[in-house]
Amino acid sequence: MSVVADLGIAFGRVAFVMLFVLNLGGLLTWVERKQSAIMQDRIGANRASIFGFRVLGLFHPLADAIKMLAKEDFRPARADRFLFGFAPFVSVFFALVAFASIPFGDTLRVAGREIPLQAVTLDVGILYLFAMLSLGVYGVMMAGWSSANNFALLGGQRAAALMISAEIAIGASIMGVIMIYGSLNMQDIVRGQGRSFLGGWLPAWGIVTQPLAFVLFLTAGIAATKRIPFDTPEGESEIIGYFVEYSGMKFGMFAMADFLETVVIAGMTTSLFLGGWQVPYLGPEGFHLPWGWAWSLPHLVIVLLQVGAFVVKVCGMIFFMMLIRWTLPRFRYDQAMRLGWLGLFPLSIANIVLTGFLLLLWDAR
């Protein structure tokens, strides 16, 4: 009986994360259209309807999916048969599984059980995230190589170069966070952000303790999603990109992977810098405001508040990333490389040194 319950709980945890990421990723096509439209004084896609109901164009992702599935699935004659079909799956798969180690809530205690609200509890969760994020680029490189198209190859090569320069900056900027919270476990890092400074007024979120790392991480993270302003691998006005030979749902999977990576980067930023599921001044028993006012809440309400806070933060982060995507123009390839290697990388190393120095001073107090 307990084995069944355990299995059910594990399945539920995975299902929650899977459905959250998948649905959010699908919804992002709608968000992208509508948000850009509102920013540009337009209305945005609103024609797809079911029985005459349009619901603000929310059926467009559905219509897109039907269109993609119904389109011709074309494969160039000289393309590598296996890799060409395999590449989009690699892209989507690693974008999907990356979210697994991001905690969406604290431990839930129900009927004598302790359920960690995280798809997979990993002690090296942050390294896992990292690995999945960089493995995603293999799909892009495979696509670029197997298409037998020089432009696709250029796109794949650019994606690889961009990923390496972004990945190093991501890793080095995360280092400061790891040093402050002293753990590679995502759940521990989020718990560490529950402490506070200045007599309890200022939550010790990563953005407070590591402001420079936040900017560096976000920049490199957006580069890792391969979206504007770092969409040199795609660069539709110059090389069209690694998916130039793809059509139908395979192309849709590459587009989907970009959206999923946006969700993953938003989740990572939330967990590492915005306090993850932490609600300001909400402890394990209830609200404790700095001037001594307290309001105790039942455990279930607190967990719901925390999960809600995580979802709201991720959505806010996605909004911000979309805002950046519709504000900035694309970096030229050499500019992106220069930013990565001469801007982000040295600054994040400097951030590690500075953090180490400050930690030393803090501990010596």
Partner: protein
Amino acid sequence: MTLDLRRFYLLEVFSGLALTAAHFFRNMGRHVAFAVGASRTGGAVTIQYPEERRPYSPRLRSLHRLVRREDGSPRCVACMMCETVCPAHCIYIIADEHPNPEIEKVPRRFDIDLGKCVFCGYCVEACPEDAIRMDTGILEFSSYSRGGMIYSKEMLLSLEAAGADGRPRSPIPVPADRKA
């Protein structure tokens, strides 16, 4: 060396983000106000085309029509002026004797190939009889074939001038080869 803050890319990024975010929230507020009925205009300048239309200018050159005499016959006397002046060579006229001896000729056929027409309006200006006009207000004619773009004398004769609001008063002519 002077310090140019614009070289520090991040500040410019923030000013750009502030601009687009301000647009987003202002328009979002307008959309919400429109949705709850507090405002008559939404946050977008979009005109929802097939349902909403801008009024056309009275000078708009739209689909041609052939002006009729009181007895319903074309006012055209097949003088070939329009066919001659047409820079796109899209007008084809075959002349015939008119039964009334006071009128010299009448077109037996008067075809306009709208697939070639450039809507310059020279035919209207060249016409000595004011027999061809481009005031129907009809812009939405299309066909799946080239032949379907050739409009005959009968089709052009059946059209009316647009109303005072610029809206077409005659139905959009459907080429014979188009289904429904």
